[in-house]
Symmetry: C2
Subunit: 111 residues, 2 copies
């Protein structure tokens, strides 16, 4: 027994955005098109999960994958219009976080 009263479009949007890492990947690509390794380094995601997410997001039409047959080959991910249209959502979350989130300073200063 699993069923809701919710609007299916809204439900799907929420499901999309609550996939772990998806929002951060989009946020990262708002700045510029990015390569696999750049995204990995920027948000601290494993290769395996990033690979999965990029496939999902491409499938959903949020991003596109371009191959530049340079040497060595460059593969670049960038937002589609649909992906970019999430910018307002991400900016809202950004603003909200500044107003409402407390970060517990886990001071990690060795030596």
């Amino acid at each position: 027994m699993k069923q809701s009263n919710l609007c299916p479009k809204f439900e799907k949007a929420v499901t999309l955005l609550s996939q772990r890492w998806t929002a951060l990947v989009i946020y990262q690509m708002l700045e510029a098109p990015q390569r696999f390794g750049e995204i990995q380094a920027a948000i601290g995601i494993s290769g395996k999960v990033l690979s999965d997410r990029l496939k999902d997001m491409e499938q959903e039409g949020l991003i596109k994958r371009d191959v530049y047959p340079e040497t060595p080959v460059v593969i670049e991910y960038s937002l589609t219009e649909k992906g970019r249209s999430l910018e307002t959502v991400l900016r809202d979350i950004e603003n909200w976080s500044q107003d409402w989130i407390e970060v517990d300073q886990q001071s990690n200063t060795g030596s």
Copy 2:
């Protein structure tokens, strides 16, 4: 090796919102304070996970839990100011979903 360049507040906000069900629970409570069983029925979440989420969200200060010692006892969950301040985010997602999400009509009409 897991570390990012991101603003910790933003990162925490995203982590919060990408917990499965959290956004839907808040969305549901935007309408009115709700009881456990109402939330369950409205969004189709299991008792176990709803219980976990409500605890997390209370911990984060997004919701509060009120006990009315009526008979039988009524336990009501409602948004705090912090929780309610997520309304803009949720409304943005709602609007975005209407503009950009396609729902594949899996017609389920028996008989």
